[in-house]
């Protein structure tokens, strides 16, 4: 009984630690969200123009991929609790693969931006009237999606680690779902906002 209580206390402490870390992550992304909001308020037309330059189809496909991956991650946690080790491994590999599909599509998008000259500082050939405002939008876009992609890369690494070594899956799942939540806000802010503005 004592051992069981100690185990529960340990798990709750670990989960609280991850929640506190995620709160600092909200602040990290929050700084970028705030910078985006400020410049969007100052340059609404240029930001809408920039938003329309993104590939909504790829953005939507990536949203679906990440949401499904959250489902498989939740399934992994439930399988681990029921002691189904084989199923845990299968759904964790599926989760990691979905994460890699997301990153591959994101890389494809970046490649398109590079070819179209929409990368500030590296390949910038956009020359419409509001080119400077569009450049600010693309800066915000690369900063936000780039930081998100770094987080997802780390998350994929952790999931692959958990496939081969026993870890606390609940903690890992919290991080994975958080990365999903960030993307859920990036979709309307970056891809959807320009269509009606």
């Amino acid at each position: 009984m004592t051992t069981l209580n100690a185990d529960i206390a340990e798990r709750e402490t670990a989960e609280l630690g991850m929640w506190v870390f995620l709160a600092t992550e909200v602040m990290l992304f929050g700084g970028l969200f705030t910078a985006y909001t400020v410049y969007r308020a100052i340059y609404p037309v240029g930001f809408a123009e920039g938003s329309r330059l993104l590939d909504l189809t790829l953005g939507t496909v990536n949203t679906v991929v990440l949401i499904v991956s959250s489902g498989t991650m939740a399934l992994a946690v439930s399988a681990a609790r029921l002691g189904q080790r084989r199923l845990v491994r299968v759904v964790l590999v599926a989760t990691a693969l979905l994460g890699l599909v997301f990153l591959a599509i994101k890389a494809l998008e970046y490649q398109h931006h590079l070819a179209e000259g929409l990368v500030p500082g590296l390949a910038w050939h956009y020359s419409a009237a509001r080119a400077n405002e569009v450049q600010l939008f693309m800066l915000a876009y690369f900063a936000m999606t780039g930081l998100h992609a770094i987080h997802l890369t780390i998350a994929v690494g952790l999931v692959l680690f958990a496939t081969w070594f026993r870890t606390r899956l609940e903690i890992l799942a919290l991080y994975w779902h958080f990365v999903d939540v960030i993307w859920i806000f990036l979709l309307p802010l970056l891809y959807l906002f320009g269509l009606q503005a």
Binding site: A41, I42, T63, I67, M73, V181, L195
Partner: protein
């Protein structure tokens, strides 16, 4: 939570994402951004409550989660009240 719950929640979040994309193609007369953000917040809440298990968590993780949203609100609102009202007063040398 049962697998059925996970499946229903995941399907709901997926559906909301597609609704959000469809709404972006419709003119809501100035309410497009508000609708898109409301849907995103609903999706985030579903994930936090069911997938991140805030539903089963004790009061302390819930407070931490709520505090992170509250701090974010302070950051955004505290910045935007300056940005949006700066032009209101004709202060020389501004």
């Amino acid at each position: 939570m049962t697998r059925r719950t996970y499946l229903v929640v995941d399907a709901a979040v997926l559906l909301l994402a597609l609704v959000s994309v469809a709404l972006a193609h419709t003119d809501l007369h100035g309410f497009n951004a508000a609708a898109a953000l409301a849907i995103a917040a609903t999706k985030a809440a579903l994930i936090a409550i069911f997938f991140m298990e805030l539903k089963l968590a004790g009061p302390v993780p819930r407070v931490v989660a709520a505090a992170s949203v509250f701090w974010l609100a302070i950051l955004v609102v505290g910045t935007m009240d300056d940005v949006l009202t700066r032009a209101w007063l004709p202060i020389p040398g501004k």
